[in-house]
Every structure is written in structure tokens, then in C-alpha cells.
Amino acid sequence: MSNITYASINDDVLNSLEPPGKAWWLSLMVILGILGMGVFAWGYQIRHGLEWSGISHPIGWGVYITDFVFWVGIGHAGTLISAVLYLVRAPFRTSIYRASEAMTVFAVMTAGLFPIIHVGRAWNAYWLIPYPNQRQLWVNFKSPLLWDVFAVSTYMSVSIAFFLLGLIPDLATVRDESKGIKRFLYSLPALGFRGTNHQWLHYMRGYLLFAAIATPLVFSVHSIVSWDFAMSSIPGWHTTIFAPYFVAGAIFSGCAMVLTLMIPLRLAFPGFRDIITIKDLEGMAKMILFTTVIVGYAYSIEFFIAYYSGAKYERALFWYRPFGEMKNFFWLMVFCNVIAPIPLWFKKIRTNIPALFLISILINIGMWLERFNIVVTSLAHDFDPYAWGTYTFEWVELWITLGSFGWFFMWFWLFVKIMPSLAVAELKEALNPPMRRAK
């Protein structure tokens, strides 16, 4: 890091906030186009009902819940990196945590849409929130779906607050470097931060406190999401392993998504290459390695328990997943989540950027499929053989799913141009203070 100085960090990061070029606009147009299709599809669904989703009888949850769990999972890595790794003082966190946090916020914003999208009467979705009303209607606190509402909304508010808190010193830096209306606009979220000793002291305390609050949420939110399934009675869902399994899976997919975003970010802003080092990416790859082992273990132990329990419904389901008509989804998932990360054991691969990018994409696909497998195959093949079904994709859900990527990337595209996507102040902390050197 010898060639990095306080000034070069400032320049590199602030450079990313320069007015966007053609490539940015063009890609944003594509993103908005896809988002537009998604919005149109959702509008059609609201008007017409869920007819054009592949959800059916008996498969009452399909692509939407898959998307929901997928995005909540993506939303895990940011807070994990910013809060948990902060508490354990992991050095590779510093360069990537800001963008990861942004990813978390946007992913949870995306995830939060899906429960509303998937319900039959989206216009009544607010009934899931307990609010005083004249009809004295209340919500059912026994329902895991309600726990979900609380878990996800809590996670979302804390993530946003933590994200904004972390941004304060950097926004102050941007404020100081800009003029006119821009300066005024950045001064508002900077909350008058001037970098005094006193402010830094309080700021660091507050940051630590938030990190401590956010840490248990990282584990609670996906545990609770997993209970949507684990608390029910369906074979393939009704299992105690789900909470740790889901959390590990979420971190796994989140880290993969961080790689998927960081690698192009380095490409787009050459100044970042010095800051987001190969070593940082390798750190992510190690996280992936750790979690892929857990995920792989969870997959196999599910099969073992199904066999060992002797329950015929469990056995039938776990026979169906790899050998039934939806076996392609299963084997693709196993390939993406268990086989594809194996090369990461080699340092050569871990430090090879194209390989990392490819593997991260595969993991993203694999983790989507994992949720799809859990949600769909379990419902497709439960107790009553007469009521078994299969899943057929329909256009609305496909476009809404694509649209959700449009929605996520739209925010990310705006983010890299509006906010410093690397943590300027923290990066500076890691440098040696600029000393006058003896010639």
C-alpha cells in the first residue's frame, strides 16, 4: 500500500462521483428497461390475480418466495462484513464493506417487496402489520409469517441506520470537496461532522454500539426466515437444521454477491484496484469456502436424517429431489454450491479474478436454485400422492424476478455515483500517517 496516500484515496473515491459517462447511462437504461418490464408484470398481476405465476395447487409458494429468500440471503453479507468482521477486526473488511453494506440495504429493499408481490391481494398486505383499528382486528403472532414481517423490517431499519452512520465521515469529506448546491446537499446527511477529536470519539462509540446491535440480527433474520419453512409440517421443510443451514447459506450467497459486485466495480473505477486488493477478494473467497462446507454438510445431513428417521414421507421427498422430475434443479444446485467452489481451495484460483467472478456467478445461481428446491420440491411431493404436482414457470413471475434484479441494480448504479462506495475514513485509518520523511 506504499503508493496509497490520504490524498490518493480521496481522489480515487471522489473520482467515482464524477458525472457519469455514456456506459453508465446506457447500462442504467437497460436496467430500467428490465425494471419496467417487472413493474408492468406486477401491475398485470395485481389487476389479473396470480394466474400468470407458476404457483399452483399444491405448490403454494414458488418463484416469489424463492426470490424473497434469495434476496434476504444476499442481504446478509453486508452487515456480516461491516458489523461482525468489524467486531472481530478482520482487516480485509475495510475496502469492501461500504459497497457490501449498500448491497445489503438494496437487497433487503428488494426482498421486502416479495412478500407483498406474492400475496393474493397485495392491496391488503398492510393487514400483516399490527395497527390499532376500529374493527379490532389483530394479527396472529403464532404465524411464522408475522415473525418474518418483524424480522425483516427490523433488519432493514438497522441495516439502513448502520449504513448511514458509517457514511457520516465520508459524506463530510465529499461535502468538503464540493461546491454550491452539491455541497449543501451533502452537508445535510453529514450531520455537521467536522472530524474533531470529540466527534470522532462519540462516532466510534456509536459505530461500535451499532455493530453490536446489528450482529445478532445477522443471525436472527435468516433463522426466522427459515422458520417460515421449519415451523410447518411439510416433509423437507419441517426440520431443525434449517436455521444454521439458512444462515450459512445466506452468508455464502452474500459473499458471492459481494464478489459479483466488487470485481466489476474494480473494473469500472481503475482507482479502486489499488484499494480493493486481491487479498481482500481472497478473504471473501475464504468466507465462501468456509460456508460452502457448511452448506454441503447441511445437504448431506438432510439426506441422512431422511434415511435415518425412517419416515416414509421424508424418504420419499429426499428420493424425489435427486431422482424425481425436478432433478435437474437439484443437481445444478449441487454443482453450483458444492462442486464449483472446490477450486477455491487452491490459492491460484482464489487470486484469479476471472475464476473468482465465474464461481461467484455460479454460486448466485446455485443459491437461488437451493431456495427454489426447498420451496418447490417439498410442496410438490408431500403427503397425499394424489395431490402431487409439478412446477411450470409463467411469464409474470419470470419478469418480476428479472425486474427485481433491475430494481437492485438501479439502486446500486445510483449509489456508486452519489455516495462514496468505499469507506474513505476507514481506509485512511489503515494507512501510516503521512510523516515528513528524511530525505
Binding site: A41, Y44, H48, G49, L50, E51, W52, G54, I55, S56, H57, P58, I59, G60, W61, P115, H118, V119, G120, R121, N124, A125, W127, L128, L137, V139, N140, K142, S143, P144, L145, L146, D228, M231, S232, S233, I234, K312, A316, W319, Y320, F323, G324, E325, H381, D382, F383, D384, P385, Y386, A387, W388, G389, T390, T392, F393, E394, W395, V396, L398
Partner: protein, 1047 residues
């Protein structure tokens, strides 16, 4: 100042007028009166249903029917408990009659049809046009051909008198059902040309040669009732039923044993059985000798050689037929719908005679009437039309252009007739060929009567005014008015048909020797649905002359059977009713299509796999249908359903079937409201020859030689069952034939017990699975049966904690049900009743193909291979929501949209439902249905909707609620009268219609109620998926099997 309009004003005006236009353009539905009567009767109360007794005219059985009307509209039909034929029940077809009444294919009023263009005319004009032709015909004499529905009552007399008055002609009651062979054979054998009463209820052993008596043959509902009386397990007794036929069908799937034979071999097998029994019979010597010489060619070994049925099997049949107590042999349906049908009937008559069954289980004197003429007479009429013998042909509610084989050239003959007029209520293939269409009212809007059997005078009264928007005249009135228009004075004494009917019922009164004042007699008949008495059995003598007819030989080659079922019959009358297409065929579970049933062994030889599109061709035509493989058909036989291939009016739901999932499918609001007319399935008549049984003149349905070959394409075959899925326990998976596995996979939805077990030879017949009662743990609770408190205790405790003390669950009522699987025949009438009662929408083939069916009740069908015998056994189980005490759906709903009512119903609050579908996922019985869209009820079907039940909006969940609208209605009545609901006063729609009495429903808190009695006393009771402890309120009773083989 600037005068005129400025910008602000312009916007104001534009906004107001725009809003007005928007509001005005929203109201597109026609205004209808809530109460359609201008001056309602004084005792009329909106919201309270009124019931009318009438007679079902769907088939010639003429069962009694009670029509429930609300606000002047018929909304539900049920069986008439006073009527001896239906005994308060109704079949699937009877239940669907409402879709005939409110058919979107109904003709709105009189019209002329010329070169395909239709012009609406007034009744006055229509009648005058026809009267003119009639007068012309009258002058020439005998120039009228009347092809109408079979009639047996006053209308039949009126029809004859009217035809006479119009100068005479030919009248044909058109029905393709092969019943004349029975009459003819009985005439030959016993000197009595009648359809006797087959008293299955009196028999202990039933040997059936192919008659589909549980589906469509003769008075099938009455036979079903007789069959369940004989065959259902009761007091340690159970009759035995053996089905001998090339086609198992629904009826044979209920048999204790299905003996597969070649098409046409039934007669020889019957005679081989008779031959074996002859030696032991007590017949007079002379008769015995004659019979002996007649039967000499039918020794067991010879017949076994010729038919391929093992000799041991025939001997076993003979032994059981002779020793099981009272026996009965039947033949009919497909086995008699051949060129040798009458001869088979004679053979079976001989068997019954030797078995001593005449006068015991075959009762003459009943004289069942169906009013139909034979197909031979129809053929003569077709020849007459071709020769120009008729000037006017009248078609009334029959569809020979569809129902006769194309080979009959009926259509061509009809086109040669100068003037064809249709009286049909609905537009169909035949009425399209008419020049004038004068639509008559539906029978639920008309007067009439039927005499289906000696002693039954069944009255038919209008249950409602004509469906709004339809300008029709009832048939009786039309006859009278036409006579008047033709200046004929035959009926001038009668203002209308009602007067004529009433007068002729004075004759009925004297016939039945009733001494009341006629007013009282008439009133009582209207209330009860007619006048009913028993028939007296008449003795018959055996006529040995019949022995000159010997049964035909077994067919060779691949033979096609056109099979009727409980949902469809060859007339095609209900082939355009969406309920009957949406409800899966009980055996194949196929919806919205035709198929061909092939034996897997044959299919493999032909290179056909299950689900392939195959070409079936006969010398008369060819069709492409889906191959449906199973072992319920003989190797040299294939079967296709009759009665399909009609134009079906259906809501215009768009489909994505067959296109990429990425391409948007857009359906505009206007398109959603349209009704489309598509042909569903194929008409098997395109393959059949126009051949008749030489003796009786019945149509030959079942001996056409066909070839079947693969087309190389897959068929688009939709079944709602998930049984073709791969599974770890694929007990009968057949890789070569591609049939998949249709068994229960050991999940115990249908459980069986053997007779031996039931008689106490073994502990109550529990077989396999988890047995809670044998567990080794103890619990803290008093009764030590569960770890959990009872539901009522749970709720009361919770209420106490919330500071409420007056919460009482299951006080007075807790609704429960038992379903006896030993009685259920799988006919699916309950499903139709459920569709009618609960406003269930019809979704169509494409949406069913992706699991969107809305049925609250389904009859699951499983084929389980018996582990010991290797034979495939068919099981049916009606599955509906069990209103679980410890339900999976209730706790997972985040908004309490589903909750447990104090009387034990797992209620859905549609208004509160957000549509998360978590409840459906967590229901282990998979009973919940989701509204994927706003469903359409093509006009006028929306008038059939039950006002008591909500029509659900898109995005909400729904499911069976034990007909809560009925519970509510009866509970309210009981409350008004200050009493509790009587046991039996309340029936669910499925229970009400069940001909087999398989379903019992009632209050389980009342220890005297039938349902509690059954639950308490039965040794056969079990709960499906009991180990999951959902505590459903439905107890299933095991099917009882004669043999001691474990399933």
C-alpha cells in the same frame, strides 16, 4: 375581460366530464331484479329457500328431484326422498341438470336459420311458419317425422294425439341406450317384453356381464342403492360381486373380482356357468333335458378353451353362484351393445332361470319404461327421409346428428328434408341443420310427468319462471298452440298444457284408487313429487323356444368399446356441461378430453407409451386421441368414452400452454368476459358402424374392429392426480409402458380390512402404519391418549388468559363426518353437487394442467397392486377438508383469516384473507384452493350461483366448509323454533346426493346422532395421516375385502 373558456375552466370541465364518462362506462351489467316476481306470493321471504318437487328428465330413469330455489331461481337440485327410484339421492348427471337449465348454449328465442344466417323472429311468426307447413303436410297425410326425447307420461300421449291431429306421421323417442335387447330377450325367454326389476338388494351374489349398472345402465341410481345394500359391509355380512367383461370400467373396479374376457365371450361364459349348475337344479325333467341339450356345447372345458378364461375360474363362479345364497346375473351396457346383445341377454336369462332367481332377484311386473324406440326404427326413419317420405321433420331436445354414427348418414338424410324445425332448448349439432328453431323451455321450467315404472307416477312441475332473457314456450303448450295455429280443434278445451295435465291426473287418481278429493290428491302429488306405490311381482314361465338362440362368439382382433360413464353417455347431452368436463373421469382422471384405454401389454406390442397421441381408425373413420394405459381392459380390446366431442361454451381464459414462458400473455377485461365455443374431445361415433342387433334393433357400440397406431407425438393429457410422479416406493411403475405409479405408495389413504378380520379372526383388521394405540409412553393428561390438551380446553384456557370467561367450544355442536369406503363407488356425483352448492368456478383444461382446479372435494383414485395376488385393485376415496381440530392452516395465517368456529368448522374469512397461501402449504391433506384470478360464470350460468355462498374474489383462499351455508340456514331455523338441530335435518351437498350413502354427517357432541354412533361402534374407522395429529373430523371406514390378502 376575456370572455369564453380559459385554461382553468377547460380543465375543470374536462375533469368533471371525464370522470362522469369513466363512471358511466363502468356499469356494463344489465339491471336485474333481486326478486324476479312482480307480485310475489304472500308467504315469500327473500333469503329463504323454497323447494319444489319435480322429476329429473336427464335420462329415462326419471328419478324424483327436489329443486331448491332462492329468489325465484333454481340454484340446486337434490333427490326426492319420497321417490322410490332415487330414494332422496341423485346421480352426477342429475346434479348437472342446472348447467342445462342455465346453459350458455341455450337458444334465446325463436329464429329462422337460412344459409347459416340466423334471424330472430317472434313466437307468433314462428308458429305461423310451422303451422303453414303442418297444414300442408296434414293434407298429404303421414308426412311428419317427430324425433324427440323418450317420453312416458301425459306428454307422450299429447305428442301422439298431436301428431294424429296433424295428419299422422312417425314419432321416435330417440335414445341410443341398448335396452331393447332386454325387452326382446325377456319376451323370447319369459313371454314378457319388459325391463324387470333387478333386485340386487335381495341377492348375496352378483355375477355381472359387463353392465355398467353403477354408472349409466338402466335405472342406475336405484341399482346403485340396491348394490350398496347387498355389498356394503353390515353386521358381519357382505355380498359378493364379480364382474365379467373385457372392460373393467368404474362398475368393475368396484367388484370383488374382475374376470377379464374377450369382447363377446360373456354369453358363452354365462352358459358354461349355467351348464355347471344345471345338474343340481330342481327344474322339471323335460325342461332340464331341453336345457341340457342347449347347454351341451358349453361345457366348462370347451368354453375355457374358446374364451381363454381358465376353467377353474368358471367352476369357481358356478360354485359361488350356486351356493352363496340368492344370486343374480346381469348383462347389459357394452356387453349387450353388440350385434348379439339379445342372445347374451337370453343366455343370462337361462342362467338366472337355472339359478332359480326369477321372482327372487329378477322381478317381473315392474315394467320399467324408457319410452325409447329402437335404433332399427330410427334407421327406417332415416331411409324414409332419404326417400322423401317426410315433408316436415321436428327435432326436440335430441341430437342424432351427433349421437348416431357418422355411418348412419343421418345428417345427409336430414338435409334432404324440405323443412326441418328444431324445438331444442339448446343449440346443438342437429338443430344447426334446422330451418326454423322454436326453443322450448327447460324441463325445470315446464309441466309434465313420467311413468318410469309400474306404480310410479312422477310429476314434473315448473320450479321457476323461464330464465331471464330467454323467450321460450314449454313443450306441452307449444303442441296446443301449434294445433291452434293450424286451425285444428283437438285441444281447444285446454287453455294450456297445465290444464290438460291436471285433467289427465284425474285418470291417474282413479287408476291408483285414491278416494280423496282431486284437489287434495293433486296438491299432495305436487308436494310429494307424484304418486308412488310398489309394483306387484308377476310370475313368468320359461319358454324353451328361446333356446333356439345361441350366444355369439368372442371377437377376434382389436375391438373398440364406446363406453358410457357416470359423467358421460352416448347421447352427448351433458358433453357440453363444463362441470362434467372439469370433474375428472373416475377411472382415468382425465379432464376436458377424450382418450383411448389400452392394455399396457397390447400397447407395448403396438409401440405405444402412456400419454402418446395415437390414431384409432376403423373402416368408418379415424380420430387422434391420447393413449391411457392400464390393466383394467382386456388385451384385445380398447375403449373410448362416449358422449364427448361436443361444442362447449366456456369462459375465455387465455393460456400460455405451448409457448415460451417469457412471452407475456395479456388478457384484456373485455376478453375475460367473452364466452368461447370449442370442441372438447372427439366423438367416438365417427368410428362406429351403423349396425344393430338383429333381434332387438339396438345400436352396436362394442364390436368394431379398429387399428391403433402411434403418431409419434405426445398427447396433451391433463389429469389432476399427481400419481405419475416418480417415487421411492413405485410399487407398480411400468417403465416400458410409461404408466408411472398410481398406487398410494403405502400412505394408507384407503385402508382395507378382510372379512376374516372383521369377523374377529384377527384383531380389528388394523394393517401396518403407525399405531398410536400401541405406543409405550404415558402422558400427564387424564385420558392418556395425547400429549396435548383437547382443542376446546386449549381455547377455553386461552380465552381465560385473555380475561374472557364465556368462550365455549364444541358446546351443543361439533360437526363431524364419516365416509364409508366400502360403500363409495367413485361415481363423483358428490363432486358435481359440491360445484353446484358452493359456486365453484370451472377453470378449463389449460389451467387444470398447471394445478389450478378449484374443486373443494375430490374423489381420489388409486390402483394398488395386491402384494399377494399381484392383481391391481382400485380404490376410491372422497377427500375434502377435515375441519381439523389441530389444524395446520389455522396457526400459520398471519391475519386470522382462517379460524376454528365454536361448532368445529375450520372457517375461511374471505374478506380478511390476504392470500399468503401459507395455510394451503401447511395443510397435509392439500385441501385448500386459491383464487388465481376472478373467475367468470358465462351468462346465464351466473344465475345458478348460490346466493348463500360468497363468490370469491381473486387472491383469496377457499376450501370445503361442510356446506356452512346449509349449516347456517338450518341452525337459524332451529334457533327460531327454540330447539337444537335434529340429527339428519342437516345434510351436506355431497352427502345428500350420494347414492351409496357413503357419507354420514352430523353433530358428534350428540351421542345419539348417527355419525357419533358410527364413530363409536365401528371397528373399521381410521383417520388419514393419523400420526400427524391434525385431528380431522372425518373418520374413514375401511373397505372390506372378501379374501384375506393383504393389500
Amino acid at each position: 375581460m376575456f370572455k369564453g373558456i380559459n385554461r382553468r375552466d377547460f380543465f375543470k370541465v374536462a375533469a368533471v366530464s371525464g370522470a362522469t364518462a369513466a363512471v358511466a362506462s363502468c356499469g356494463t351489467d344489465p339491471v336485474e331484479e333481486l326478486v324476479p316476481m312482480l307480485v310475489p306470493p304472500s308467504d315469500y321471504v327473500p333469503g329463504v329457500s323454497i323447494h319444489f318437487a319435480t322429476t329429473c328428465q336427464e335420462c329415462s330413469s326419471n328419478c324424483g328431484m327436489v329443486v331448491r330455489t332462492r329468489e325465484g331461481r333454481a340454484i340446486k337440485v337434490e333427490g326426492n326422498p319420497n321417490h322410490p327410484l332415487s330414494e332422496g339421492r341423485l346421480c352426477a348427471v342429475g346434479q348437472s341438470t342446472l348447467q342445462g337449465l342455465y346453459s350458455p348454449s341455450r337458444v334465446t328465442g325463436p329464429k329462422t336459420i337460412e344459409n347459416g344466417s340466423q334471424t330472430a323472429i317472434s313466437w307468433e311468426k314462428g308458429k305461423n311458419i310451422l303451422a303453414e307447413k303442418l297444414v300442408a303436410a296434414q293434407e298429404k297425410g303421414s308426412r311428419i317425422l317427430y324425433i324427440g326425447t323418450p317420453k312416458t307420461g301425459v306428454l307422450n300421449q299429447l305428442q301422439q294425439d298431436w301428431l294424429e291431429a296433424m295428419g299422422g306421421g312417425t314419432a321416435i323417442g330417440f335414445d341410443t341406450a341398448p335396452t331393447n335387447s332386454i325387452r326382446k330377450a325377456n319376451d323370447l325367454t319369459f313371454g314378457k317384453a319388459e325391463i324387470p326389476h333387478y333386485a340386487i338388494e335381495n341377492a348375496d351374489y352378483l355375477l355381472n356381464f359387463g353392465a355398467d349398472f353403477l354408472e349409466s345402465w338402466l335405472y342406475s341410481l336405484k341399482l346403485t342403492r340396491g348394490y350398496t345394500k347387498m355389498h356394503a359391509f353390515k353386521h358381519g355380512q357382505k355380498g359378493k360381486f364379480v364382474h365379467v367383461s373385457p372392460h373393467m370400467s368404474l362398475t368393475g373396479s368396484n367388484a370383488d373380482e374382475w374376470v377379464s374376457c374377450s369382447n363377446g365371450a360373456e354369453g358363452e361364459i354365462a352358459l358354461a356357468v349355467a351348464n355347471t349348475l344345471l345338474a343340481g337344479s330342481t327344474l322339471p325333467k323335460a325342461e332340464k333335458d331341453q336345457l341340457e341339450s342347449y347347454l351341451s356345447g358349453y361345457s366348462v372345458s370347451a368354453v375355457a378353451n374358446r374364451t381363454g378364461v381358465p376353467a377353474a375360474k368358471i367352476k369357481e363362479l358356478a360354485k359361488e353362484f350356486g351356493t352363496k345364497g340368492k344370486s343374480l346375473a346381469l348383462a347389459g351396457g357394452n356387453s349387450t351393445a353388440s350385434q348379439d346383445g339379445t342372445k347374451l341377454q337370453i343366455a343370462v336369462n337361462v342362467l338366472n332361470y337355472i339359478g332359480g332367481n326369477i321372482g327372487k332377484t329378477v322381478l317381473f311386473g315392474a315394467d320399467y319404461q324408457d319410452g325409447a324406440n329402437s335404433i332399427a326404427e330410427m334407421e327406417a326413419a332415416i331411409k324414409g327421409m332419404q326417400k322423401g317420405q317426410y315433408d316436415v321433420v321436428i327435432i326436440e331436445n335430441v341430437n342424432p346428428a351427433y349421437a348416431l354414427p357418422k355411418d348412419s348418414k343421418f345428417t345427409e338424410a336430414l338435409q334432404k328434408v324440405p323443412f326441418v324445425v328444431s324445438f331444442s332448448t339448446e343449440a346443438d349439432e342437429t338443430s344447426a341443420l334446422a330451418k326454423l328453431h322454436l326453443p322450448i323451455s327447460h324441463y325445470l321450467e315446464s309441466w309434465g310427468d313420467s311413468r318410469p315404472r309400474t306404480g310410479i307416477y312422477s310429476l314434473q312441475q315448473p320450479t321457476m319462471a323461464t330464465v331471464p332473457g330467454y323467450d321460450t314456450v314449454e313443450l306441452g303448450d307449444l303442441f296446443i298452440q301449434l294445433a291452434e295455429a293450424a286451425d285444428n280443434d283437438t285441444f281447444e278445451d285446454y287453455d294450456n298444457f297445465q290444464a290438460l295435465l291436471k285433467e289427465s291426473w284425474e285418470d291417474v287418481q282413479s287408476e291408483v284408487e285414491n278416494s280423496q278429493a282431486f284437489v287434495d290428491f293433486w296438491k299432495k302429488a305436487l308436494q310429494k313429487g307424484g304418486h308412488f306405490s310398489d309394483f306387484t311381482t308377476e310370475d313368468v314361465a320359461f319358454d324353451t323356444a328361446a333356446l333356439s338362440h345361441k350366444p355369439g362368439k368372442a371377437a377376434t382382433g382389436l375391438t373398440l368399446i364406446a363406453a358410457n360413464s357416470s359423467l358421460h353417455s352416448a347421447g352427448g347431452k351433458n358433453g357440453n356441461r363444463t362441470w362434467m368436463l372439469e370433474i375428472p373421469h373416475p377411472i382415468t382422471q382425465i379432464v376436458w378430453d377424450s382418450w383411448v384405454e389400452i392394455n399396457p401389454d397390447t400397447a407395448i406390442k403396438l409401440g405405444i407409451r402412456h400419454g402418446d397421441l395415437v390414431e384409432v381408425s376403423s373402416p368408418y373413420g379415424k380420430v387422434e386421441v391420447a393413449a391411457w394405459l392400464y390393466y383394467g381392459i382386456a388385451e384385445n380390446t380398447v375403449a373410448m368414452p362416449a358422449g364427448l366431442g361436443r361444442v362447449v361454451p366456456m369462459a375465455n381464459y387465455k393460456t400460455s400452454h405451448g409457448q415460451s414462458a417469457w412471452i407475456p400473455v395479456i388478457e384484456t377485461a373485455e376478453e375475460s368476459r367473452q364466452t368461447i365455443h370449442n370442441v372438447v374431445g372427439v366423438n367416438v361415433m365417427e368410428l362406429l358402424p351403423f349396425q344393430q342387433d338383429g333381434l332387438s334393433g339396438d345400436l352396436n357400440f362394442a364390436s368394431t374392429q379398429v387399428t391403433v397406431k402411434p403418431t409419434g407425438r405426445k398427447a396433451y393429457l391433463v389429469t389432476p392426480d399427481g400419481q405419475y410422479r416418480d417415487d421411492i416406493e413405485a410399487l407398480q411403475a411400468d417403465a416400458k409402458a410409461g404408466m408411472g405409479d398410481r398406487s398410494q405408495k403405502g400412505r394408507g389413504f384407503v385402508q382395507t380390512a378382510s372379512m376374516g378380520a372383521m369377523l374377529g379372526l384377527k384383531e380389528d383388521g388394523k394393517s401396518g402404519g403407525h399405531q398410536l394405540r400401541h405406543r409405550v409412553y404415558t402422558t400427564d393428561l387424564e385420558d392418556n391418549t395425547s400429549f396435548y390438551e383437547t382443542r376446546e380446553k386449549d381455547i377455553e384456557d386461552a380465552a381465560l388468559m385473555a380475561g374472557k370467561t364465556n368462550v365455549k367450544y364444541y358446546d351443543t355442536y361439533k360437526w363431524g363426518m364419516t365416509i364409508d369406503l366400502d360403500r363409495c363407488t367413485g361415481c363423483s356425483a358428490c363432486m358435481v353437487a359440491c360445484y353446484a352448492e358452493n359456486n365453484l368456478p370451472v377453470v378449463g383444461k389449460d389451467r387444470m394442467g398447471v394445478g389450478r382446479e378449484m374443486s373443494w372435494l375430490r374423489v381420489e383414485r388409486y390402483f394398488d397392486k395386491n402384494k399377494e395376488t399381484g392383481k391391481v385393485e382400485t380404490y376410491f376415496t372422497p377427500e375434502m377438508c377435515g375441519q381439523c381440530e389441530n389444524a395446520g392452516c389455522e396457526p400459520v395465517c398471519p391475519v386470522y383469516a382462517t379460524y376454528h368456529t365454536p361448532d368445529g368448522i375450520n372457517a375461511m374469512v374471505y374478506n380478511r384473507c390476504v392470500g399468503t397461501r401459507y395455510c394451503a402449504n401447511n395443510c397435509v391433506y392439500k385441501q385448500r384452493r386459491f383464487n388465481w384470478r376472478d373467475y367468470e360464470f358465462p351468462s346465464p350460468l351466473h344465475l345458478q350461483l348460490n346466493p348463500g355462498a360468497t363468490v370469491r374474489e381473486k387472491g383469496v383462499m377457499e376450501k370445503c366448509n361442510f356446506c356452512y351455508t346449509r349449516i347456517r340456514e338450518i341452525k337459524d331455523i332451529a334457533k327460531d323454533e327454540g330447539r337444537e338441530v335434529y340429527d339428519g335435518e342437516l345434510q351436506t351437498a355431497c352427502q345428500q346426493t350420494c347414492g351409496a350413502d357413503a357419507i354420514t354427517f352430523g353433530n358428534v357432541k350428540d351421542s345419539k346422532s348417527e355419525v357419533s354412533q358410527i364413530k363409536k361402534s365401528t371397528k373399521r374407522g381410521y383417520i388419514q395421516l393419523e400420526e400427524l395429529a391434525f385431528l380431522p373430523a372425518i373418520t374413514y371406514l375401511k373397505k372390506v375385502k372378501h379374501n384375506n390378502h393383504k393389500a
